[in-house]
Amino acid sequence: MAPLLDVQNLSTSIKLTSSTVHAVDNVSLRVGKGETLGIVGESGCGKSVTGLSIMGLLPPGGAVTGGSIKLNGRELVGLQKEEVRRIRGNQIAMIFQDPLTSLDPTKTIGYQVAEPVRLHRNVSRKAALDRAVEVLGLAGVPQPRERLDNYPHQLSGGLRQRVMIAMALACEPELLIADEPTTALDVTIQAQILALLRDLKERLGMAILLITHDMGVVAGHTDRVCVMYAGQVVETSGVVPLFRETRHPYTRALLASIPRFRQGRENALPAIPGLPPDLSRPPRGCRFAARCFRATEKCRAEEPPLTGPTSAHRYSCWHPLNEPRTLAVSGVDVSGTTGTDLVAPDARSPRTADGIRTSATEHKPETATANGDREGPLLDLRNLVKEYPVGSNAVLRRNAARVKAVSDVSFSMPAGTTFGLVGESGCGKTTIGKMIVALERPDSGSVTFGGVDVAKLRRAELRRERRDLQLVFQDSHSSLDPRMRIGSIIAEPLHAQHWGSRQARRERVFELLAEVGLPKNTVERYPHEFSGGQRQRIGLARALSLNPRLIVLDEPVSALDVSIRAQMLNLMTRLQASHGLTYLVVSHDLTVVRHLADRIGVMYLGKLVEIGSGSDIYERPAHPYTAGLIAAIPLPSPAAEHAKKEPAITGELPSPVHPPSGCRFRTRCRFAQERCAVEEPEPRSFGPGHLAACHFPLRTATPPETTADFAG
């Protein structure tokens, strides 16, 4: 049977002012009718450009330079614009990552969903709107007819993505290209959208090309997978063999660098050293060779072909894993079935951007000894409340609505430990982080740090206290002043605190750079010259400069690729050990928090719902929200993913302006009863240090019916 989509030797390049990026190089792939093909890879590996090439939507300067794209046997490369337009949105549809920017804010939902129908099917306005209602219903939008007159800003992120899917479905496409369809969404919504896509595929017999960076998404929602690296397909096979009989070292490394639930942080994560190559000057030979632990001279000289024992499983590697050994590679264990040791733990690679080991070990954990004799917790939060008025003009609207960002949150953390705060976007976790470092002042409640209430300090006292309290930002791009050199950026806290002489500050900056694994000449450069991972290291160096006692890490790795993420996580763990730091990690990513934190607090809509050790939360969750959140994480294992049934948490996050009465989670909880709406649950103990606030917990409270305090 001829495949629905047949891409042969596709090459696409994008011309920039001074260079040409060979974004896609000689890529071949097929998608059969009703099949889901996953394209997985890190950012810049060419997966999106492949999708855009098929759609004929390349950015300015981009052009298909070779190969063919056949849809139902019809060549798409070189078609007239008119003809491409007839196919686009009709036979092939696409959904994008960000549903906020891919919908027109000035047009109603109904208009936008009906538009492709009116363009491609010669039907009346009325019929097109009827079709819009039908597909909106298919895409799981509740009360589709009432939604027709809504504008995009009136919908939540999850609903907007459903509208995008409805638009894509409107003309019954044979192929749906989904480019990172759930990356911008919360994990519970992600699970719902992915389940919807799978369901639609089965009901409509449509083929899906699912582009993602997430191995977990691939595991659960594709039939076959193409792993891309640096513009090329490096491994392709059915989804089960890919995970069971991984052949390419890159695929294995990607899988290994994802933190696992059961894996504490005793062991460093196996990270892929270095960065992907610059595609305007692609390297000779195997493109992964520079970062591959098994690379030999042959790898650097000759490009491996994409072949394999069967046409179903092919890979481009001279020294594939799990194969009878054909080459003796000196000093390297090639038998490797364990996976972790196949990738260089970053300390073993001599030439990485990650050459961190230099001075970190020599550094005395002075802060740890200084704080060691302190009694009680280093940080203690009591009944924190923070609300923001909605709307900008506070003068005119006296009784303006208020967003309840943080409502009565208490917890405490001893020195030298890591506390993880998880929850979906809008749950107030970042606001808590900002209140701890006194960027925001709480409306009520206290933030006691080392015996001092930070929220009540005066300006001069606060400035002194800032030495001990630092924050690493989520977006390394906006947290570094674009017009300052890195040297000045890192030295800024030193300068502000009048630390040492000019010369001493300079020395300190070099010392810090060495600790985070950046070369000395970094000081003369500007932030935009660095990659995301490197910028995050700079942010970490700045936070460390004054030897703080507590660092708040706000989504420290969520903007980074998987392989870089592992490098960062290892670096943070190592720095904590060598400096005796206390971390508060704020993240929506449960695997990251699990990897870093000793204790974890789960937040929902401004409230702490459960608190406990890593294993309490992940293995013995008591709150239905915690359990649902964990179940929603896509696991990099096809078997585990296929075992999942319905999304554990349904519905959308309620508005934080009018949070539900009683238990705030009740609107999405399957166990909710009348009591939940009336009475707010008090925290109860479920074991030592394990507390949850729920009327109908998944486990029995010990002892039952006594309430406790999260700050306990």
């Binding site: 960027l439 930002f473 989520q474 050199r485 806290p493 010259e529 700045r542």
Partner: protein, 303 residues
């Protein structure tokens, strides 16, 4: 000097370059600006007019002081390359003299406008909401006053000089830079790097000097070039309406106005040269402004 305003170097974040010494520190926007052909043309034209007006009189010496009616309204000749005007002054020499005042007023008025505007906008954006609203409403009020009327009224009362004209024009064109800087600072103060500086304990004045001012300079410089162009046009309007500088001082607008009386007589040399000078200078400044805007626009940087 330029690197102070545009401290960028072009470098791609690739690992293999991380160990190289940093060699090319030529600021990117400057290279980008020189790479832009229109910008080069604009700069060349501007430099030409500056040399023409300020160095020209040293080379091409003419009588601009004593009225000589014998020589009045002569067509171009070897003695007077662009002929003479109604007072017998050499037209080419007069263009140079007019250019001096036009360019001086243009630059000075722009400096006045941009300085007031930047201060006003920054202070408003960093103040509390009430003060901010009041300050920005003042800007709205000023924007709704017809500027030419005010200048004409003032010109009747006071004797216009280079200084007073500059102050008046500058005083009525700071509103646009004020708005630009205001919105820019509003965005900047919410940026994480400002928060990072605050967490470090950086005092407010240092925040302004080290972070806010350098990051608004791009916008300010771009606006400044357009302000110079606008001020030169404004001087020309005022001069054309006969309320410009007092005789024997002159600007290009005055010359145009004087020449218009002789349009019917066919004395083209009294009209076209001054008009062409105004147009070309303004065009040159606009070219430079466009290029500066492209060069400082972060959104275009990675193209």
């Amino acid at each position: 000097m330029w690197s102070m305003f545009f401290p960028f170097g072009r470098r791609r974040a690739t690992e293999d370059r991380a160990d190289e010494p940093v060699l090319d520190r030529r600021p990117l926007p400057l290279r980008r600006a020189t790479g832009n052909r229109l910008a080069v043309i604009g700069f060349a034209m501007l430099i030409f007019f500056l040399l023409f007006s300020f160095v020209g009189p040293l080379v091409y010496r003419t009588n601009q002081d004593v009225i000589s009616l014998v020589d009045a309204n002569q067509p171009p000749s070897a003695a007077h390359l662009l002929g003479t005007d109604a007072n017998g002054f050499d037209q080419l020499g007069r263009l140079m003299k007019g250019g001096q005042t036009s360019l001086e007023i243009g630059l000075f008025a722009a400096v006045v406008a941009v300085t007031i505007g930047t201060l006003w906008g920054t202070v408003a954006a960093l103040s509390n909401k009430t003060v901010d609203s009041i300050m920005m409403r003042v800007v709205d009020v000023f924007l709704s006053v017809p500027f030419l009327f005010v200048v004409l009224i003032l010109a009747v009362t006071f004797v216009p000089s280079v200084l007073s004209l500059s102050l008046v024009i500058g005083g009525f064109s700071w509103q646009v830079p004020a708005r630009l800087v205001h919105s820019e600072v509003l965005i900047l103060r919410e940026q994480d790097f400002i928060s990072a500086a605050r967490i470090a304990g950086t005092p407010p004045w240092r925040l302004i000097i080290r972070h806010l001012v350098p990051n608004t300079l791009g916008v300010v410089i771009v606006n400044m070039t357009f302000q110079v162009a606008d001020a030169i046009l404004a001087v020309a309007y005022v001069g054309f309406l006969g309320f410009g500088l007092q005789f024997p001082d002159v600007d290009w607008g005055d010359m145009l106005s004087d020449g218009m009386q002789y349009m019917q007589a066919g004395y083209w040399w009294l009209v076209y040269p001054a008009g062409v000078c105004i147009v070309l200078t303004v065009v040159a400044l606009n070219f430079i402004g466009d290029a500066a805007r492209d060069a400082t626009d972060v959104r275009l940087r990675h193209r």
